[in-house]
């Protein structure tokens, strides 16, 4: 399948981590930065390589390719570093690599204080993220997620903006809560399945033969939904997200909101859906109502009221996670498929938005949208990027997000037309806040506040160093937007193969 003499998955995990370790051990700054380009680029190359070769040969019945297993000493517990990708993991793996590269490039050019440590933490995140989506073993899937999570706290704390201390603490406590509860769920699954393995493939085979009892499924699914719900900011457990993202430095916010947050949804799709179908179905209605009323409508309305650009983006991200939950609640093939698409798309677009928000901040010295206005006259390219990113995030066709939302809505109707109607109403809300923010920041006449700032620092348009990472993300959004099949084919294959019996509802 892959002609490389090494395991591309392991390399893409290990390369960033190795550099992070080297930096920790005292690599000089010049070399750190130089090598960081490579460490962020390698996962992308690997991801593209893997993507390219994914369908080269027919997949085995479990749907995974590039399987390799490394024993870390826990094979007795049924745990091993089992790497591989299926059609669902592949898009997210590529996403992680791309956003990682963009975040890395943006971080390198940002010239942050203590850049070495910043890069080191970012690299740890990157390595963890690659690991999350490359792990077939549920334990390592969780493990890598946590690995990627820790740097967020420190990055928010050191390089964060307003309220960073409180935000960092709240973020960490919330995310730990979510992680702990989902860990309990996973342990419950591990013990109760009787398979005594965390290996997803083996577990799936085992549970196909010996399905779990209904109550058990409900309990485990409940734990996972709560835990992962916190991680993915399911209403009303979401309050960490806007605060945290509002305070986080751009690259951390990009990686976290863009990729890391997808862990929970990915877990639900990859683990909960195939292993606990009845359990998820049991919770589907409460979940859907919570998501549609809470995430989509309430948070959507709240987003309209935001004055701080970054918080606004944070809230909009929370809102879009509502759609993802709706897709999972809807089930079948279309719903989860749409969620995978939406995850990738949202990851790219929200990362792009955070990147641009920071770029705006550098020009206006504020995140308060009231104090901007008319910036487009000075920075047309930045404005174009921002408008494109905003439109992508509110689901304009031509961008990847649209496909995800569309598939989710289609799936949702079968689940509940009423919920669908409410969810689609959210599209209007997102148009309102999206366009409003673009207008407040860029259009209309220049405000006095902006004039004052620009008098001191004449704003320059997006430089190429900033533009390049943004272009990567935007290009990916457009690529998927115009050619969704590139992503949906593997996803569809994986989902269809997984549920041959389940009606394609």
């Amino acid at each position: 399948m892959s002609q490389l003499p090494f395991d591309p998955l392991l390399v893409s995990i290990a390369a960033p981590l190795a550099l992070a370790l080297a930096i920790a051990l005292g690599l000089p700054k010049r070399w750190s930065v130089l090598l960081a380009y490579g460490a962020f680029a390698i996962p992308v190359l690997m991801a593209l390589h893997v993507w390219w070769h994914f369908t080269a040969t027919p997949l085995p019945s479990h749907g995974y390719a590039f399987l390799t297993r490394y024993d870390t000493g826990l094979s007795g517990l049924g745990i091993s570093l089992h790497l591989g990708l299926n059609g669902i993991a592949l898009p997210l793996f590529v996403l992680a690599a791309l956003v990682g590269l963009a975040a890395g490039l943006y971080a390198i050019q940002s010239g942050a204080e203590r850049l070495k440590i910043y890069l080191m933490l970012l690299l740890i995140m990157q390595g963890g993220l690659m690991g999350v989506f490359a792990s077939v073993d549920i334990f390592f899937f969780y493990f890598f997620h946590e690995l990627a999570l820790i740097p967020t706290f420190i990055m928010v704390g050191i390089w964060g903006g307003r309220d960073r201390s409180y935000a960092a603490m709240k973020l960490t406590i919330y995310l730990t809560l979510g992680a702990m509860v989902s860990l309990l769920g996973l342990i419950m699954l591990y013990v109760q399945s009787g398979a005594h393995t965390f290996d997803l493939i083996a577990l799936r085979a085992h549970l196909a033969a010996h399905p779990l009892a209904a109550t058990l499924q409900n309990n485990i699914a409940g734990l996972l939904l709560f835990g992962l719900g916190v991680l993915v900011s399911l209403w009303p457990l979401h309050t960490w997200a806007p605060l945290g993202y509002g305070a986080a430095p751009s690259s951390a916010a990009m990686l976290h909101a863009g990729v890391l947050k997808k862990f929970g949804l990915y877990g639900l799709i990859q683990v909960a859906l195939p292993l606990l179908p009845d359990g998820l179905a049991h919770w589907a209605h409460p979940l859907a109502w919570l998501a549609v009323i809470g995430n989509v409508l309430i948070v959507g309305v709240i987003t309209i009221a935001q004055r701080d650009l970054k918080q606004m983006i944070g809230y909009s991200s929370v809102m879009h996670m509502g759609y993802a939950f709706l897709g999972i609640a809807a089930g079948g093939i279309i719903g989860p498929g749409g969620v995978v698409l939406l995850m990738v798309a949202h990851g790219l677009s929200v990362a792009l938005l955070f990147l641009l928000a920071t770029a705006i901040y550098h020009r206006t010295q504020t995140f308060a949208m009231d104090e901007m206005g008319g910036l487009a006259q000075k920075t047309p390219v930045l404005a174009a990027f921002f408008v494109a990113a905003t439109l992508a995030s509110i689901g304009l066709p031509g961008f990847a997000n649209f496909w995800g939302e569309l598939a989710i809505f289609v799936a949702l109707w079968k689940f509940s037309p009423l919920i669908t109607a409410l969810a689609v109403a959210g599209v209007v809300l997102s148009a309102i806040y999206g366009l409003r923010s673009a207008a407040r920041v860029f259009f209309g006449p220049s405000t006095d506040a902006l004039a004052k700032v620009t008098a001191a620092h004449p704003p320059v348009d997006l430089s190429w160093k900033e533009r390049f990472p943004a272009l990567i993300l935007l290009a990916a959004l457009l690529f998927i937007g115009f050619w969704p099949k590139s992503l949906t084919t593997p996803v569809n294959a994986a989902l269809t193969a997984r549920a041959p019996a389940a009606a394609t509802k």
Partner: protein, 629 residues
């Protein structure tokens, strides 16, 4: 090259043009304009070629798939699409050429022409779409292009607001549109237009009143019907050629086109709703147009009114004739709303584009003066514009044997045959149309100049006048069905044609309303710097103004007072109640326990011994079986 590859080429070409402009020609406005205009020329040429070749085809390519759910990128090229394609191609070309002159000195010319190309791409997508999902995709893209173009002069607060409003109002419509599509998908298992039509033939279609109504929401948004019409007058903040292209001839007509596309899904209840919506819009917009002083706003309300006509025409449904054939009743549709609506759409596209471009020419000539009370006397200074504009006015008010005359008659006849109240209201609208159009025409072109700009007005260059002439010619001839090649028979055969007494009644009515309206308008309004109506009948004037302002007022009130306050309230609730009271409260609660637990370490050994006692007692209770877990 096959026809299909031509179609694909036509669709892709403007996208490529837009991409090239966005990527490489951002600073080279002249080249960008050339690229875009050449593209438009090619599109117009190939469109006409495609239409005339009388080859109709359907073809689709899978775009994405989840399980059984697939969305395809498809082409359904039938007579309806061919007609629409030609309209879009020709009007598009005219507007491009006109823009060359009109936007010559604009700093962001590249963005403008890029936007035009994107618009062409989106609009062609709607035209070709063979399924509703694809139509929805391009539907939204059209909205986006409109957003970009209205917002062209983004440093103006009004332009920024108008573009936002346009997009959001369209989104509201799309909300229903999407629901309709999804509902249709689950009910009928497909949203492919050909398959739906086949199902309709085979009588296996599952009907629901909700589906057409939901889908109609999309048309309400895009074609600016009540109550989502608010965005269209504001959209006049965009450059005038944009108004001509998007907000008069093509995009707003997409709603009508879409309705015609989904005709098979219609049920009588839905048609009634559509009909009344159209009628109401037609009348309301005509009333609003009377008091406008901005030349483009008058045209905008006129557009609204005409769109209402088309929607009403569609809603009136079909005229059928039942034959006894071998003892079995056979129903033959001899005429349909589809035909009337599309006919009016076609003629309207030409004469309304003509008038918008004419107004653009006027505005250009008057150095961006748009107030008709500051114009006057342009007949002498801009003769070509005057004559072409006059043709446009004559066409819209239904001057006999001009384009509007025929299409309006077709609609009136349909209304007459189907529903008398609607007929009456539409006739009244026609009176009003003549009234305000003549008012506009007189105030702009006749009398004496009322401002410096007007007195120094001059005709624009060739790029400005050539499109006017072309469109004027079309406005003259487009009403004759014979003018159209046979290739559009799929549409034009359905145009209701009155015969005998009906014909006479309609003819007289039509002529009557035109004369009444035009003469009143001509005699009543004087070429003065103030509105004659406001001077003489201030009560009526303010009533009409209030009628117009009521929707905008309600809209503004909703945005500022309800939506914003509600958002702030919910935000406040979240900050105080959820993030504050519950989350911080919980943290504080735990922290309180923490302080309590901390306070237990009093430092005194005697106190600590009690803890041991406590422990022993606890364990003792387990041992004695008093407590079990």
């Amino acid at each position: 090259m096959t026809m299909l590859s031509h179609a694909i080429f036509v669709l892709i070409l403007p996208l490529v043009s837009a991409a090239i402009i966005a990527l490489f020609l951002r600073r080279a406005g002249g080249i960008a304009a050339a690229v875009s205009t050449l593209t438009a020329t090619a599109i117009a040429g190939i469109s006409v070629l495609l239409a005339l070749r009388n080859e109709r085809f359907t073809e689709s390519f899978e775009w994405m798939r989840f399980g059984d759910f697939a969305i395809s990128l498809g082409f359904k090229f039938d007579d309806l699409a061919a007609l629409m394609l030609v309209i879009v191609g020709i009007v598009g070309l005219c507007v491009h050429v006109f823009s060359l002159g009109y936007m010559h000195d604009d700093a962001a010319k590249a963005r403008y022409f890029g936007g035009l190309s994107i618009f062409m791409f989106s609009m062609l997508g709607i035209v070709f779409a063979d399924n509703l999902f694809m139509m929805f995709i391009f539907w939204e893209l059209v909205g986006f292009s409109s957003y970009v173009l209205i917002n062209h002069w983004h440093e103006k607060q009004s332009a920024s607001d108008a573009s936002k409003k346009a997009f959001i109002a369209n989104r509201v419509g799309d909300f229903g549109f999407l629901l309709g599509i999804v509902m249709c998908y689950w009910l009928n298992g497909t949203v492919n237009l050909t398959e739906l039509a086949a199902k309709g033939e085979a009588h296996t279609l599952v009907f629901s009143t909700l589906i057409p109504l939901f889908l109609f929401c999309g048309a309400v948004g895009k074609s600016a019907q009540l109550p989502l019409h608010v965005w269209l007058p504001d959209a006049m903040e965009g450059p005038t050629p944009v108004s001509a292209l998007i907000h008069a001839a093509t995009m707003v007509a997409a709603g009508i086109y879409m309705l015609c596309r989904i005709n098979v899904l219609m049920v009588p209840d839905a048609l009634t709703v559509i009909m009344w919506t159209g009628t109401a819009t037609a009348l309301y917009a005509a009333l609003c147009a009377i008091t406008q002083s901005d030349i483009k706003k008058v045209l905008a309300y006129s557009t609204l009114s005409q769109l209402g006509y088309m929607v009403a025409a569609f809603g009136l449904g079909s005229l059928s004739d039942t034959h006894q054939h071998d003892g079995v009743p056979h129903t033959i549709i001899i005429a349909a709303g589809v035909g009337a609506a599309m006919f009016h759409l076609t003629t309207h596209a030409f004469f309304k584009a003509l008038m918008f471009l004419g107004s653009g020419s006027v505005i250009h000539g008057c150095h961006h003066e748009q107030d008709i009370f500051k114009m006057g006397g342009l007949r002498m200074r801009m003769p070509l514009t005057f004559w072409t504009f006059t043709i446009g006015v004559a066409a819209i008010i239904g001057f006999p044997y001009l384009a509007g005359f025929f299409s309006k008659d077709a609609i009136l006849y349909l209304a007459y045959a189907k529903n008398t109240p609607v007929f009456a209201l539409l006739a009244l609208t026609a009176v009003l149309t003549s009234l305000y159009m003549v008012r506009l025409w007189k105030l702009t072109f006749l009398g004496e100049p009322r401002s410096d700009h007007a007195s120094h007005a001059h005709e624009g260059g060739l790029t400005l006048t050539l499109p006017l002439v072309l469109l004027a010619v079309l406005s003259l001839v487009a009403g004759y069905t014979a003018f159209y090649p046979k290739v559009f028979s799929g549409v034009f055969d359905l145009i209701p044609v009155a015969h005998d007494t009906d014909h006479t009644i309609i003819f007289i009515t039509s002529l009557g309303v035109m004369i009444v309206g035009a003469s009143t308008g001509y005699t009543f309004w004087k070429s003065t710097p103030t509105d004659t109506l406001a001077d003489k009948l201030p009560g009526l004037f303010s009533a009409l103004s209030a009628l117009r302002a009521s929707f905008d007022g309600a809209y503004d009130y909703y945005v500022a007072k309800i939506q914003q306050r509600f958002a702030l309230f919910v935000n406040f609730f979240e900050q105080i109640f959820l993030a504050g009271l519950i989350v911080r409260g919980l943290a504080g609660f735990v922290g309180l326990f923490g302080l309590g637990a901390r306070a237990l370490h009093v430092g005194n050994l005697n106190a600590y011994v009690y803890w041991f006692l406590l422990g022993i007692v606890m364990l003792w209770l387990f041992a004695t079986g008093v407590v079990t877990l």
